[in-house]
């Protein structure tokens, strides 16, 4: 029982990442009708926002200390990050919390990137066939990915979680298991809660604001909303920016769990597409539910007990499920009628 519980917990953080990316994909698809193969690249860019902030914060001031000597007889170089030099303890805290702080930077950066992408490229593809949209966003994803590679190199760059969140939480104690059975890294729990919060914000935004109402109306019937005299295009630009922010935040916060490298976006994108398809194209709730569901199933499949029965199942479980779902319920778990039929 506690093993099962642990696997559910293990799946939650990954599921959170899937859900956030899939949510953005679904919003973009539902409103703009565009299949965005560059969405994984946005996730990756968000992660590299965190990397850049960390690098910026840890820029060193080099001072020579003549009182201490190195083994070579030269004065010892004392390296202190500028940020500590300037702000003292507050600076040290900032450096420690570079990942959470980076989301403050990631929001405007990703919003800007998303708006530029939509205005500059994607909007010219609304009327083109889906194949063209796939191809152009795919090309864009390659470009973004290669730019990051040339800037940051090909190797993963580990990002530490804040020291306070590096420990483990003995989750089992809280719900009545013996101590030490269900221990769980604190940061993963934070990530899960964070993803829930973002999902909640997005849903609340769509549900309770006039803007959100128009967007939902646009998802249901774009043409009629346009006929009512609402400038749907301008709103959709913001929607695209929003989806970019969601993907970027998901990426930035995920860095302590998975060291970011330039191709992490594509790895997640393929899975997120599967999540969208399983959840049902155009259904926001479906995307979120399927994200968590697949994350949890994946972590179950990587249990040794399961792997002994079906070797390699952890590698393919998500794809297998997608195939079965598409064959049995072609519209996905919660797909709406009339969205991408045929």
């Amino acid at each position: 029982m506690d093993a099962i519980f642990l696997q559910i917990l293990n799946g939650l953080d990954k599921g959170g990442a899937y859900a956030l990316i899939a949510l953005g994909l679904t919003i973009i698809f539902g409103t703009l009708g565009v299949v965005n193969f560059a969405h994984g690249a946005l996730f990756m860019l968000g992660a590299f926002c965190a990397v850049s902030i960390k690098a910026l914060f840890s820029m060193n001031k080099v001072a020579l200390d003549p009182t201490q000597m190195t083994a070579w007889g030269t004065p010892m170089e004392i390296r202190t990050p500028y940020i500590i030099d300037w702000f003292g303890d507050f600076g040290a805290t900032l450096l420690d919390y570079s990942v959470p702080v980076s989301i403050l930077i990631a929001i405007p950066v990703m919003l800007l990137l998303g708006v530029i992408m939509e205005r500059g490229l994607i909007r010219h593809f609304y009327k083109r066939p889906h194949a063209d949209q796939i191809l152009v966003t795919f090309g864009l994803a390659i470009v973004l990915q290669e730019l990051v590679k040339s800037q940051f190199g090909a190797n993963p760059i580990p990002q530490p979680a804040p020291e306070a969140a590096q420990g483990m939480i003995d989750f089992g104690l809280a719900i009545g298991f013996d101590a030490g059975n269900v221990v769980y890294p604190a940061w993963r729990l934070i990530y899960f809660l964070f993803s829930l919060a973002i999902i909640g914000i997005v849903f609340a935004f769509l549900q309770f604001t006039t803007f959100g109402m128009v967007v939902r109306a646009g998802m249901a019937d774009r043409e009629t909303v346009g006929l009512l005299g609402i400038d749907i295009d301008r709103r959709f630009t913001i929607v695209f920016g929003m989806a970019a922010v969601v993907a970027g935040l998901a990426g930035a916060m995920y860095t302590p769990i998975l060291s970011p490298d330039y191709h992490m976006g594509m790895d997640f994108l393929v899975l997120s597409f599967v999540v969208v398809v399983v959840g049902g194209m155009g259904s926001l709730g479906g995307a979120v539910a399927a994200g968590f569901l697949l994350g949890i199933l994946q972590s179950f499949a990587s249990m040794n007990e399961v792997k002994n029965i079906f070797p390699g199942i952890d590698q393919i479980i998500i794809y297998l499920i997608a195939v079965v779902i598409l064959l049995v319920r072609p519209r996905g778990l919660m797909g709406r009628k009339g969205v991408m039929e045929g």
């Binding site: 299949v35 490229l121 010219h124 083109r128 889906h130 194949a131 063209d132 796939i134 191809l135 152009v136 795919f138 090309g139 864009l140 994803a141 390659i142 470009v143 990915q145 290669e146 730019l147 590679k149 040339s150 594509m266 393929v270 597409f273 599967v274 398809v277 194209m281 070797p311 390699g312 590698q315 393919i316 794809y319 297998l320 997608a322 195939v323 598409l326 064959l327 072609p330 991408m340 045929g342």
Partner: protein
């Protein structure tokens, strides 16, 4: 029977392939290793075009069939014979079988669902090749020949390669250098001919009808799925053959051939050349492989030479910008090319050639300039 124009096209194609070592000499591509790649990826792209160009189904998992072809060919070398003929026959066959399996499931959906399904299957095969199927695929190392391979047929016919690692040979003719290229070239010609016949056949017409309006086809009481599935299997066989040929020229098969980047590359080749055209995919494949070869060989000092005409300060800037796009950064060029082609030239190079041709014709004095274009 093929029409006169088709015969001309075919003759021209055969002539170009046969004379390739001389024709491509001036641009520095007249050596067999590169020409082989032109031919092999030409076959791959022609096959992909039969599916995408004719039926409009955009598959993002074609590299899986290429990988299956390679693995099959290497296993044939190991178990049966170093002769390339059984290897490519089996590679084609297995490519087709695998395509039948995946196509049967994927073709139940259309449009973007189809793309995602094929992508998912390809990723699944890639992951499997790296993990569980390691006994068959030899995982990350890649499948290689070894001296202890049984090679049943070779032994039955009394061919013993001794203690060296053999390379594949067609009845004593080693598949390296020019013989290797001409073997691939011959395959390319055969494949091109088959594609030509498919394009001109009623079957090809049916596939085009699937692309232009599948619903209407269904309403007229025609089941389109068998046609699409046949096209999918044929293109899978082309991919399998291409994979087999890759193994013939270099008996090594690795899982990275099945990755989504490889699938994306063949899509790009087809789009770049012009999807739905006969020659386009071959041209696209050759252009991409040529530039890959050129660009990835560049390094900073060569760039410095190129920009040496600029003043010192500009030179270093130009070099650092350009070095993003060459060498290791070749994929950036590829991606940028992808975006530009899709935006500005959706019909690919063939479309570009046609436009230039039309422009030239219009410029002729008293020619088409006054001719009004018919209303669409």
């Amino acid at each position: 029977m093929p029409t006169r124009n088709d015969m001309l096209l075919l003759t021209g194609f055969v002539a170009v392939v046969l004379a390739a070592p001389f024709l491509f000499e001036p641009i520095g591509a007249g050596y067999p290793d590169l020409l082989q790649k032109f031919a092999i990826f030409g076959i791959f792209a022609i096959g992909f075009n039969i599916l995408f160009g004719l039926t409009g189904y955009l598959s993002f998992g074609h590299a899986a069939f290429l990988g299956v072809g390679s693995y099959t060919a290497v296993w044939t070398f190991k178990l049966l014979s170093m002769n390339p003929l059984p290897a490519i026959v089996l590679a084609t066959l297995f490519g087709g079988l695998f395509a039948a399996l995946i196509g049967f499931i994927s073709l139940r959906r259309t449009g973007i669902y189809f793309s995602i399904l094929t992508l998912a299957f390809a990723q699944m095969s890639y992951n499997l090749a790296y993990s569980v199927l390691t006994p068959i695929t030899n995982g990350e190392t890649g499948l290689q020949l070894s001296q202890g391979d049984p090679r049943v047929l070779d032994i039955a016919f009394g061919r013993d390669y001794g203690a060296v690692l053999p390379s594949s040979d067609l009845f004593g003719l080693e598949m390296t250098g020019y013989p290797g290229f001409y073997f691939c070239g011959a395959m390319l010609i055969v494949c091109f001919y088959i594609a030509l016949r498919i394009f001109r056949s009623p079957f090809g017409m049916m596939l085009r009808a699937v692309k232009s309006n599948q619903n209407r086809m269904n309403y007229t009481g025609l089941n389109t799925r068998p046609y699409a599935l046949t096209a999918f299997i044929i293109s899978g066989m082309y991919a399998g053959l291409a994979g087999g040929l890759l193994a013939v020229t270099d008996p090594l098969a690795g899982a990275e051939r099945m990755q989504w980047t490889a699938s994306g590359e063949v899509v790009l080749m087809t789009i770049l050349g012009g999807s739905g055209t006969l020659l386009g995919p071959v041209i696209g494949a050759a252009v991409i492989k040529y530039f890959e070869n050129i660009f990835s060989a560049f390094n900073k000092s060569m760039l410095g030479d190129i920009f040496s005409f600029l003043p010192e300060s500009l030179q270093s800037g130009a070099v650092s910008v350009a070095s993003l796009f060459v060498g290791e950064g070749w994929h950036l060029t590829l991606g940028a090319m992808f975006v530009l082609i899709v935006i500005f030239l959706p019909g690919g190079l063939m479309e570009g050639i046609r436009r230039i041709g039309a422009l030239a014709r219009r410029k002729k004095p008293g020619g088409g300039a006054s001719a009004s274009t018919p209303a669409e």
